[in-house]
């Protein structure tokens, strides 16, 4: 089948991720949506690598996984701190600073 479809799929995943970020209140899920976006990018890279027959895309994919892992560590740390203080993981509650 046409490998371009993988790109399209990636785009769809990315969009879903964006949508998740925009509509979900729970910080964890928002964060998961971001991860989804990253992975969509990964998929795109891999697919593109397949298309173009170059390796770079694959390399990128590995790096991105690592980076994403690091991001999880930092992200969860922050979210957990917030959760422990506010007893809720809703990112809308973190809105003391405005205007």
């Amino acid at each position: 089948m046409n490998p371009n479809n993988y790109l399209i799929l990636a785009a769809i995943l990315f969009t879903i991720g964006v949508y998740g970020v925009l509509v979900r209140r729970n910080a964890i899920i928002v964060f998961m949506s971001v991860e989804l976006m990253l992975n969509a990018a990964n998929l795109a890279f891999v697919a593109a690598a397949r298309n173009t027959g170059t390796l770079d895309g694959l390399v990128v994919a590995f790096f991105v996984m690592v980076v994403a892992a690091a991001e999880v560590v930092v992200g969860l740390a922050i979210i957990v701190t917030i959760f422990r203080t506010r007893r809720s993981a809703s990112i809308d509650e973190a809105s003391l600073m405005k205007y």
């Binding site: 790109l7 990636a10 990315f14 991720g17 970020v21 910080a27 928002v30 964060f31 971001v34 976006m37 990253l38 969509a40 990018a41 990964n42 795109a44 890279f45 697919a47 593109a48 690598a49 298309n51 173009t52 027959g53 170059t54 770079d56 895309g57 390399v59 990128v60 790096f63 991105v64 980076v67 690091a70 991001e71 930092v74 992200g75 740390a77 922050i78 979210i79 701190t81 917030i82 422990r84 203080t85 990112i91 973190a94 809105s95 003391l96 600073m97 405005k98």
Partner: protein, 522 residues
């Protein structure tokens, strides 16, 4: 294929990352009492050393045109690490600026005298705000040194960011300096809720934007079958894949414009600047902008250089939005840090003027502006950190009334920084503005300059208002006072002030430097 690693060229980056690893070990194994001096030594030493290497490399580059000698170790205008990193004139200038600024900022972070409770960071980030054990730790006067490894990794990432020559390296560098920033932002000693909130917002939005960046890179890769800027540039010339390239450029732009804090990707800026520990705000406002603009320049001059006629209009709009909205929103701010945050958004717009003119003049003027702005910005936040009352920093504008009476010197220096931000002659800010405006008009962006002028006019109002507040208004009873800092902060403020004046009165040497830095390597 065998990849040779040009260690000298990469030395600055390597030094800082290595120092970062080292300082993690220090945290792990050295007894608490000794940590601070060692860490401090480590940080300052590594930065100085890295700077020294940048200087060495630069001089070596000026020695002769190295591109000819096969990209080998000697002449350092070259692609390093198998083309993943490009150590060239502008890159090195940016690195130099980052190192200078981070050195000054490090001094601020090391300050332990202005806050009676210790430094600007939570005695234990893990404790809950307002919880019993927080009170205990504070009472026992616990002080952490854990920011230092983070700081080192952050600076290291920043050094890599503007010189990385392919999307992967750039993405990694982006994350390497962003993640520590997210963490440090959450570590304020006082007003911890705000600090946490800042960190959360910064993190979520930062990750969001970097995802855009990454996906954009993927699209470009799909279109050009390469992630290396130089090859991408070539491939774009004759590529039919507009469907991929155009969105690709757009999404990469989103990622980078977020970091520089351009409208409409700016909304994190005020919140994060306000919430973070003030010394860190100083660091962020200066270093992050510099690094991010370095990367932005490289991507849009090198990778998308051939497409400038496509992306320029987009940048025009962003620049106009940044200048106008930044200045406009600053007018009604009541919190000093937020006001400065919006002013920094406006300045992003001004710097974009230089980027847009896509010429040698544009490049050099942008570099100059970054240096000028970096120091002014560090200095201004450094002083904001000094104005305190019992509850900590007094950042509400009304609390600044009559400071000119209480401590004329600090007030005068602060006024100096404000004038520089407003772009008044004989300050660095004016020279910078002048340079970018010149480049812009030369590049045919006269309308942009007109907008910039109007924006500056609006901006002049809120800077002048602060001066009126400090000098022409009677101080309130029980108003805050300017605490006397230790040598660290004093030196930091002094240096910033010195640079702000120097670059205004005798900018020629620096101008020579940025002009001789030449263009990006392709």
């Amino acid at each position: 294929m065998n990849v040779t690693v040009e260690y000298q060229a990469l030395a600055p980056i390597i030094i800082l990352l290595a120092a970062g690893v080292l300082s993690v070990l220090v945290e792990a194994f050295i007894p608490r009492t000794l940590r601070r001096p060692i860490q401090l030594m480590l940080v300052l030493a590594s930065i100085v050393l890295a700077f020294a290497y940048v200087v060495i490399n630069a001089t070596a580059q000026l020695a002769g045109d190295p591109v000819t000698n096969g990209g080998q170790v000697k002449g350092l205008r070259q692609l390093a690490a198998g083309g993943a990193v490009a150590i060239d004139g502008p890159g090195m200038v940016i690195q130099g600026i980052i190192l200078l600024v981070s050195f000054v900022a490090a001094l601020l972070l090391a300050e332990r005298q202005i806050d009676p409770q210790g430094d600007a960071f939570a005695s234990r980030s893990s404790t809950l705000p307002g919880s019993e054990d927080e009170r205990q730790f504070t009472a026992q006067g616990w002080l952490q040194t854990e920011i230092w490894p983070l700081y080192l990794f952050c600076v290291g990432g920043m050094l890599l960011f503007p010189v990385s020559n392919d999307f992967l390296t750039m993405f990694v560098a982006l994350e390497v300096f962003s993640l520590p920033l997210y963490l440090m932002a959450s570590m304020a000693r006082r007003r911890r809720l705000l600090s946490h909130e800042a960190a959360l917002k910064y993190f979520i939005l930062g990750a969001f934007s970097s995802a855009f960046f990454l996906f954009g890179a993927a699209l470009i890769y799909a279109a050009t079958s390469s992630i290396s800027f130089s090859t991408v540039a070539v491939a774009m010339e004759n590529s039919s894949q507009d469907g991929l390239i155009i969105p690709g450029i757009g999404m990469i732009a989103v990622g980078l414009l977020f970091k520089v804090g351009a409208v409409p990707f700016h909304q994190w800026v005020p919140d994060v600047y306000q919430g973070s520990p003030t010394p860190l705000t100083a660091f962020m406002s200066a270093a992050t902008k510099v690094a991010a603009f370095g990367a932005l320049l490289r991507v849009f001059y090198v990778a998308f250089g051939g497409m400038r006629w496509d992306w320029r209009p987009m940048m025009w709009v962003i620049a106009i939005l940044s200048m106008v909205i930044g200045s406009l929103l600053a007018v009604t701010q009541t919190d000093m840090k937020r006001m400065l945050a919006f002013s920094s958004v406006a300045h992003t717009g001004f710097i974009l003027l230089g980027v847009i003119s896509t010429s040698a003049a544009g490049l050099s003027s942008t570099l100059f502006y970054l240096l000028a702005y970096g120091f002014t910005s560090v200095g201004v936040f450094a002083i904001v950190g000094l104005v305190r009352d019992a509850s900590g920093e007094a950042t509400h504008l009304s609390q600044w009334a009559g400071l000119g009476k209480k401590s004329p010197w600090m007030a005068s220096i602060f006024a100096l920084f404000l004038l520089a931000l407003a772009g008044i002659p004989l300050t660095s800010g004016f020279t910078g503005k002048f340079a970018v405006f010149t480049a812009a008009i030369d590049g045919g962006a006269t309308p942009l300059v007109i907008v910039a002028v109007v924006a500056s006019a609006i901006a002049a109002f809120f800077y002048a208002r602060v001066i009126v507040l400090m000098f022409f208004t009677e101080p309130p009873v029980d108003g805050p006072s300017v605490v006397v800092p230790s040598a660290f902060t004093t030196v930091a403020i002094g240096t910033s002030a010195a640079f702000t004046l120097l670059l205004g009165i005798a900018p020629q040497p620096v101008l020579d430097l940025v002009i001789n830095a030449g263009l990006f390597i392709r």
